[in-house]
């Protein structure tokens, strides 16, 4: 039984490796390696093209407004930039990336409150914006690195970040598969606290949580937020660079904040979907004849495997860009 589980885990990893493609900025002397074609994201492609088209239009309008802020100091133009950057963030984060899959699978694996989903999406997106601003200030303003290179920094940081999430996912999967993990491993191991048969996670109210496991649940979540949020959003970097080119750094920071808020809406929504999906999945697993503890474990394994696969894909993609 356990061997079968590891086998399926291996298969998932193999799929991840196969589907990963090569991406690089072709207008910056990079070489693009053709890769296999495979569809891993469940976004209907017609919507994808619409999203790309809308982003292109927003890019046009936002840059026009930046120029009028620069030329006339118009407050209306500044407000327009904030509103448009927010909308851009909502749309942009709907495209693959931005930690949605990681957040979604995290919440499938870990029973959590709704609030946690909102918080995690928000924290990741805001962190991404902050990192983008920091990268532009350090690389472009201080070190005078080429702008296109600066915009491609995400790939290197991304690689490290996704590797961390792969490790997290593997740890959750491994401990659950070995039967050592109920909810959050560290808490239980450290406190010697034994959960009931439901194997519920530490921040679930129905099982009396120990303060230790509550604490490590928070720590664990912080780790996921840091690992995912440390990848800057290239769009945020591009907007910051554009703001600097138009002598509007303050406006750029405000626009990146608005963009991050927009992304937070989308990413949090996925987190909430993950939280809502968990009980449904557990019920489905129970319907397949498993008892509650077993069903929870299965869903946790699926969530952990999804974390590993998605971040593994992201990692391989980022690696091919460096």
């Amino acid at each position: 039984m356990q061997r079968r589980r590891f086998l399926s885990f291996g298969v998932l990893l193999a799929i991840a490796a196969r589907a990963a493609g090569a991406f690089a900025d072709p207008f910056n002397g990079s070489h693009v390696v053709p890769a296999d074609t495979g569809s891993m994201f469940l976004i209907p492609s017609a919507i994808l093209v619409r999203l790309a088209h809308m982003q292109m239009q927003l890019n046009d309008v936002i840059s026009r407004e930046f120029r009028s802020v620069h030329d006339t100091g118009s407050i209306a133009a500044a407000l327009a930039i904030l509103a448009l950057a927010f909308l851009y963030g909502v749309l942009h984060a709907a495209a693959p990336g931005h930690g949605k899959t990681i957040v979604g699978s995290y919440f499938v694996a870990n029973e959590s409150r709704w609030r946690s989903g909102l918080f995690m999406g928000g924290a990741i997106s805001l962190l991404k914006g902050l990192v983008a601003i920091a990268i532009v200030v350090v690389m472009s303003l201080i070190l005078h690195v080429k702008e296109i290179e600066t915009a491609n920094q995400g790939a290197i940081v991304g690689c490290v970040s996704y590797a961390l999430v792969v490790v997290i996912g593997c740890a959750v999967f491994w401990r659950t598969a070995m039967g050592r993990d109920c909810g959050h491993s560290y808490g239980r191991a450290a406190s010697g606290h034994v959960h009931g048969a439901t194997c519920a996670s530490a921040d679930h109210g129905s099982v009396v949580p120990t303060s230790v496991s509550d604490h490590s649940a928070t720590n664990f979540r912080r780790f996921v937020i840091a690992a995912t949020g440390m990848v800057p959003c290239s769009s945020a970097i591009i907007i910051m660079l554009f703001a600097l080119a138009n002598d509007a750094m303050g406006m750029g920071i405000a626009a990146v904040a608005a963009l991050s808020l927009g992304m937070a809406v989308t990413v949090s929504a996925v987190g909430v979907v993950g939280i809502g999906a968990r009980p449904v999945l557990v019920r489905a697993a129970r319907g397949a004849g498993q008892n509650l503890a077993h069903a929870e474990r299965t869903v946790r394994l699926v969530g952990a495997a999804a974390m590993v696969v998605f971040s593994g894909l992201l990692m391989l993609g980022a690696m091919s860009q460096i």
Partner: protein, 184 residues
């Protein structure tokens, strides 16, 4: 992959099918970069912050931000009467700055194999980045045109085709299809 893969460069494109009395000779493509990427290109490859580009700027853009596209066949696929057509190295590269926008114009020469000629020919061209890093779309005004094709009754039109992307499934891409008569 995806964190980088969603479009970060947006290009509006015009396609002109080039003919001479012997038939199709190539396509002239005009790529108009989005203002934000244009600003980055300007900062990295152009000597001035504003105004027209100098010949040295154009050469710099050509050498540092164009020739490497050969690796990806300029994202361009051409089929002639249904068969893929090899593309020659682009000629007549020029770059201009139109306000805050960088615009590339170049010709991709094509020479259909005489054996493949039919009385009426169909040639189709798409420009598409399968990694979706660059998003191409036909420009809204005059997206498609024909030069010197009247004698061969050349006519071009735009439609949409499904293309396989890397990791994104199938996505829509613009397709320009031209028909013309072989010279008698």
């Amino acid at each position: 992959m995806a964190a980088q893969a969603h479009p970060h460069i947006f290009i509006k494109q015009n396609v002109v099918a080039l003919f001479d009395p012997s038939g199709l000779t190539g396509f002239r493509l005009t790529w108009r970069f989005d203002p934000m990427y244009s600003s980055m290109m300007r900062a990295d490859f152009v000597s001035t912050k504003g105004g027209p580009l100098t010949p040295a700027d154009v050469k710099n853009l050509h050498d540092k931000s164009f020739v490497d596209l050969e690796d990806v066949h300029y994202f361009t696929t051409v089929t002639f009467n249904g068969k893929p057509l090899p593309l020659d190295t682009p000629t007549n590269f020029s770059a201009t700055a139109d306000g805050g926008t960088i615009v590339y114009t170049f010709d991709i020469p094509v020479r259909p194999d005489p054996h493949d000629l039919r009385p009426e020919n169909v040639v189709a061209i798409t420009v598409f980045d399968p990694s979706y890093y660059v998003y191409y779309e036909l420009a809204s005004d005059n997206p498609v045109a024909v030069t010197s094709g009247t004698a061969l009754k050349a006519a071009c039109g735009a439609s949409v085709v499904w293309r396989d992307s890397i990791g994104w499934g199938r996505v829509h891409s613009d397709l320009v299809t031209c028909t013309y008569h072989s010279p008698r």
